[in-house]
């Protein structure tokens, strides 16, 4: 779905992306992970064309993102930002259906789709008339997810969608997200800083550090065969203190919380 070849991006003296090459398969779920400032968000925003590479090439479905084609290409992608990025002057419903009405969908087409998405994301129908400020953080993220999915895009990009939520709601949403990803079978790329979340939601994890891809693989690979000492440190840092309470340092502990 995405093909990156030697992509580099600088911000002044800082290198946000350093010769990144990777391929993302259609229908796969990929997690981008790494410490703050490692370039994972930059990479995600580059995929939807909010940032252009300085050098190297980026192909979406075999085509590069050009100013002429970008809007059409973006409609084939859904994008969820950390804080939701919902428009505060629109109700939940208006946020979700904004693009659909912009591209001329009829109400007969919009309404069933809205109901379908509300069911999929477990969003209460009476919340659709509310403004973002009148909804909880978790509900806002569900609205944001519905908005991203409205036009039934091929790709879903999520930038730390659960970052600002409290642990209980976060757990609930992780479960829901996994179900949604499984039900839709879309190409999903999710940015997170939580290794457990990455392992839970994605088959493939891209661990980044200082603009470089450090290791690509499953959570199991990271734990059992770290590519470099940094990976080992990163995994250790992410282990819950709860682990030390139990005898088992097994990975299962990540999701028993």
């Amino acid at each position: 779905m995405f093909q990156l070849d030697q992509v580099t991006k600088h911000y002044g003296a800082t290198t946000a992306l350093d010769a990144v090459s990777l391929a993302i398969q259609p229908g796969s779920t990929t997690a981008l992970i790494g410490p703050s400032g490692c370039g994972k968000s930059t990479l995600l925003r580059m995929l939807i064309g909010l940032i252009e590479p300085d050098t190297g090439s980026l192909l979406f479905d075999g085509q590069s993102l050009t100013p002429a084609s970008i809007r059409a290409q973006r409609r084939r992608m859904g994008y969820v930002i950390q804080q939701g990025g919902l428009f505060p002057h629109m109700t939940a419903q208006e946020n979700v259906t904004l693009m659909a009405s912009q591209v001329g969908w009829s109400p007969e087409r919009i309404n069933p789709r809205l109901a379908e998405l509300a069911e999929l994301t477990h969003f209460p129908l009476d919340g659709l008339k509310r403004y973002p400020l009148e909804l909880s953080g978790g509900q806002n993220q569900r609205v944001s997810l519905m908005r991203a999915l409205m036009l039934d895009p091929e790709v879903l990009l999520l930038d730390e969608p659960l970052g600002a939520l409290d642990p209980m709601i976060r757990f609930e949403l992780q479960e829901d997200l996994k179900q949604v990803f499984a039900a839709l079978g879309k190409t999903v790329i999710i940015v997170t800083h939580d290794l457990a979340e990455a392992g839970f939601l994605a088959q493939c994890i891209l661990l980044m550090r200082a603009g470089r891809l450090v290791q690509v693989g499953s959570l199991q690979d990271m734990v059992s065969a770290p590519a470099e000492p940094f990976v080992k440190q990163f995994v250790r840092a992410q282990r819950s203190h709860l682990d030390s309470l139990g005898d088992s340092p097994s990975l299962g502990a990540f999701h028993e919380v």
Binding site: L50, R74, Y79, F87, P88, H89
Partner: protein, 540 residues
């Protein structure tokens, strides 16, 4: 977007057209002008009454402003006649033409103090070295008439009185110091001198007088002419300049100091009218010429006193003169308070409504452009900022060459004044939208036009409305100054009240103006509630 801006341009153009049409008048009607002080208005009423008596439709554009404004309005044909003073003509209006070798000053531009095109606006005569006083001669009058003819103006004749400069002080104080002549002042350097601002600045006022007599006083300050009288009465000052037809001379029991060395000049009241009246409406000329030798100095003082001190209306006093002197019976219709208020309110609402609407139509797009193009934005914000720093009075006067007198320049000036708050708030409202929301809109694939219409403008709306509200309140206040150039509105009673020292009259304009501003403010708060969605209302 392109069709939008064309539509906008068309709207502005039609607005300007309406505005322009609003300022031109019917050509069958005669317009009499008057300066913005009691004597000027009285003379305007007299001329108006004379023309009306001849059965010619006539309009009195009262209290228009100062000398230059009136003279230019006469030359450009916005008014057909008014009364001017010889000294003023010689040394203010026609300063370039060397008509009188001597040195004269002018009272003609009225009290010159207070609001209105102030001294800085009037070209000053050169102090020069040839300060030797010289009386105006018939030859001077002839040369003046010849010079006026070049501008298409006829000098109809003298009204019959002079209104000269003099120095005055309360009689008890003058007696105590033994002062009768200006030369006597040399022995009293400690006197407190308070002059009208115009007299202070003009070379033919205090600076010339000081140099001519070698006056030693140091405590000399400029104040409002009317306030100077009150300062004398309350012993806050010792001496001020007078106009010899001021009724206050008698009212405050002032002694006029003898100009023993003859510095001050003559200011004969002269009838001026447009030369083309003789062909266009010859009957008007005949009617106007009835004013020649109609009013002598005591009569003028009495008339001024009837208005300034007894509080009668100018129209009423002028009508009385016409009745007793010429047997002209003219019904003076004076409107009741309610009718006046309605008229002021209507005029004010038109000024504010049109200028504010035009400002919104121009400023919101400007603000949007400024928000999207940073370089251009700085230029736009800078330009509207500069427009805001021009003092309201100066701005009004700058507009006169383009829009004439009346509502036109006032509308243009108010329009310029209203731009800044709206442009700045629109700009701030749009640039203040968080990066997350911008990115959201972009990532959704919304085209730029839809981003502006569906995201940026609605999010900026509370700020834009706040800007419009600020502009409206400023506009309502500034519109009162419009009365200075004949635009009407609440400023009319305020200015008249200041001139006549009539608090009730000032309140007649000030109170409704304040209420009007409050109402405008309230209206925009209501609009905010109606237009801004619940999600971004400040109260949420």
């Amino acid at each position: 977007m392109k069709s939008n801006s064309i539509w906008l341009l068309a709207l502005i153009a039609s607005l300007l057209l309406v505005l322009h049409a609003g300022c031109t008048r019917d050509h069958g009607e005669v317009a009499i002008g008057s300066k913005k002080f009691t004597e000027g208005i009285l003379l305007g009423e007299v001329l108006t009454g004379l023309v009306a008596d001849a059965g010619i439709p006539v309009q009195h554009r009262r209290a228009l402003g100062g000398t230059r404004l009136l003279y230019n309005a006469l030359v450009s044909g916005e008014i057909d006649a008014y009364v001017e003073y010889s000294g003023t003509l010689l040394h203010e209006v026609l300063a370039d033409a060397d008509l009188d070798v001597g040195f004269e000053s002018g009272t003609g531009s009225g009290t010159g103090s207070g609001p209105g095109p102030g001294p800085g606006f009037e070209p000053r005569s050169e102090p020069g070295s040839g300060l030797s006083p010289r009386r105006q001669t018939a030859t001077t009058r002839e040369r003046l008439a010849a010079r006026l003819a070049e501008d298409g103006i006829r000098l109809g004749g003298a009204i019959g009185f002079d209104n000269n400069y003099a120095l005055g002080m309360p009689k008890p104080r003058a007696n105590q110091l033994g002062l009768t002549r200006i030369s006597d002042l040399l022995a009293h350097p400690g006197l407190r001198l308070r002059f009208g601002n115009e007299f202070m600045d003009r070379a033919d006022g205090w600076p010339g007088l000081r140099d001519f007599y070698g006056l030693p006083q140091r405590d000399v300050r400029g104040v409002e002419h009317e306030l100077a009288y009150r300062a004398l009465a309350s012993n806050g000052a010792d001496l001020t300049e007078l106009y010899t037809t001021d009724p206050e001379i008698a009212y405050y029991d002032l002694r006029t100091l003898d100009d023993d060395r003859g510095f001050f000049r003559r200011y004969e009241a002269l009838l001026l009218y447009r030369a083309d009246l003789e062909q266009r409406l010859p009957a008007t000329v005949t009617a106007l010429k009835q004013s020649i030798d109609l009013i002598d100095a005591p009569r003028m003082i009495a008339m001024n006193a009837a208005v300034q001190i007894d509080g009668r209306s100018e129209a009423d006093v002028a009508a009385e003169l016409l009745r007793t002197e010429l047997g002209i019976d003219r019904v003076v219709k004076s409107d009741g308070l309610l009718v006046r208020l309605l008229r002021y309110t209507w005029e004010h609402a038109v000024l504010v409504g049109i200028s504010l609407t035009a400002a919104v139509l121009v400023a919101v797009p400007l603000g949007i452009v400024a928000a999207h193009r940073r370089g251009l934005g700085q230029v736009v914000l800078g330009a509207v900022g500069v427009a805001q720093t021009i003092p309201a009075l100066a701005l009004l006067v700058f507009m006169i060459p383009f829009f004439g007198i009346g509502a036109g320049p006032a509308l243009a000036a108010l329009f310029l004044y209203s731009l800044l708050p709206i442009v700045r708030n629109t700009h701030a409202g749009i640039t203040g939208i968080s990066a997350t929301l911008r990115e959201s809109a972009e990532a959704l694939g919304l085209p730029p036009g839809a981003r502006l219409r569906r995201i940026e403008l609605p999010l900026a709306m509370p700020m834009v409305l706040a800007g419009i509200k600020t502009a409206a309140v400023i506009n309502v206040g500034a519109a009162t100054l419009g009365a200075l150039i004949g635009a009407g509105g609440y400023g009319q009673p305020i200015l008249a009240g200041i001139r006549l020292d009539d608090t009730a009259l000032i309140l007649e304009g000030a109170v409704p103006a304040a209420l009007f501003a409050l109402a405008a403010s309230w209206l925009f708060e209501r609009a905010e509630r109606a237009v801004v969605p619940r999600g971004i209302r400040p109260s949420v």
